[in-house]
Amino acid sequence: MRNFNKRAWVLRALCAGFVVGLFCLFASPAYAVDNPDSITIGDSYVFRDVLEDGDWLVFVRYDVNYGSVPDDYASECFYMALLDGDGDVLGGTHFQRELEYYQHNIRSIYLTASQVTEASLTWESEYKLRVSGFASKFDPLVEGTNMKTTTLTSSNYYEGSELGGVMLSQAQILEDDWGITLLTNGLLNVTGQAYFVEAVPDLASMDSSIFSTAIAQMEVDDTYLDMDTEYSDALVDNKGPILGGAIEDLAGTFRVSETWASIWLVAMLSLTFSGIVFAATKDTGMAMMVGVPIAVGAAYMGIGGTDMFATVASIAIVAAVLFGIHFILGRFAA
């Protein structure tokens, strides 16, 4: 009769479960989402010269109204986009941005001066602005049902100096509808600031005077700072396109940064191999040591960015200090 090794079978079952779990994660199909009860565009604006001469900020106040709010994230189901006069997609992902929230809210697209020039965008032209569901989530896409398009006219175009005033009036509209206080003494309070900066990421740099709490960036004299990321950037190339793509997919699936996905992956790998080594040797020290070459290998491949490199460096320093205390000082003590 064969010797039944319970620990080995548990280990195999865990490994098999891990692999099956990974397959299930990456094989998840796209699910359809119910159409909203209504979809509208309240206001749309285009501002120019907000951060640099010639840049554009396209702003929209929308309402993707659901009576019963779906479980799916709005960012996976709806987006806003700037389209050409014929309603065709302008080239480049910077002309499109996912919505963060359902219901009545705001969103924007920022285009640098070079992006505006590259796309040959013309001020006060009749471009189209669209709030729409993703085709992968809604079939079919129907104007007025799960997609709303508006045509910009010259009255939608504003100079950057008018941005602050418009944002405050938009905040008042949202405050009245939401029942959430966004303005205090006529300026965006902490809550208002959180949502407006989320919708317009560089709003604080564009016009800080509309915030009740101002944040100023410290001026740092970097004359004496002589460092670059050339080495860590070069390490990233070591992992190759396949592993890099897998980490990107993993990060996208869990909606975390690639750094976090990488660290999680390395941690899982270390844990798996440590478990295998422990099962085979019953030696805790040996099992722990397996994690070291994995971490070093990850750092060499630029996985986890500079964080992983710093972690490995820290481990190396701590190991060197411990070695010094135990072996070198230990001999003197003896």
């Binding site: 009576g67 019963s68 709010v69 809210n105 029942g179 902490v190």
Partner: protein, 110 residues
């Protein structure tokens, strides 16, 4: 300015904000200080807001009316502006989902 129960306000018929916005407010002590006694108070807190955001408008209006203390179906109909037949349907639906406890059900059927 008088206090308007959420069940009697127009906000109840259409959820004004994505529940994830409420989650963000809840996650910030400063935002909770700004909104805690106002928005959150009217909706019975962030957990209640997220819960009712999943209900359809009819059930939500009836549920919030019960939470606001309207016990008779006639009062619920008056507070929400719904006809009695819809109030009955909402109560039946809430019963089925287990969203109202037995005492509420009995009172709501008076």
């Amino acid at each position: 300015m008088g206090y308007t129960p959420i069940s009697a306000s127009s906000q109840n018929k259409r959820m004004p904000v994505d529940p994830r916005i409420v989650r963000r407010v809840q996650g910030s002590s400063r935002m909770m200080r700004e909104q805690g006694s106002d928005f959150m108070g009217r909706w019975g807190g962030p957990t209640m807001y997220r819960k009712v955001a999943k209900m359809d408008a009819r059930d939500r209006m009836a549920y919030m009316a019960i939470q606001d203390g309207f016990v008779e179906r006639g009062d619920i109909a008056e507070a929400t502006g719904m006809p009695l037949s819809e109030v009955d349907q909402a109560i039946a639906s809430l019963k089925k989902e287990g969203e109202i406890v037995e005492e509420d059900k009995e009172v709501a059927q008076l």
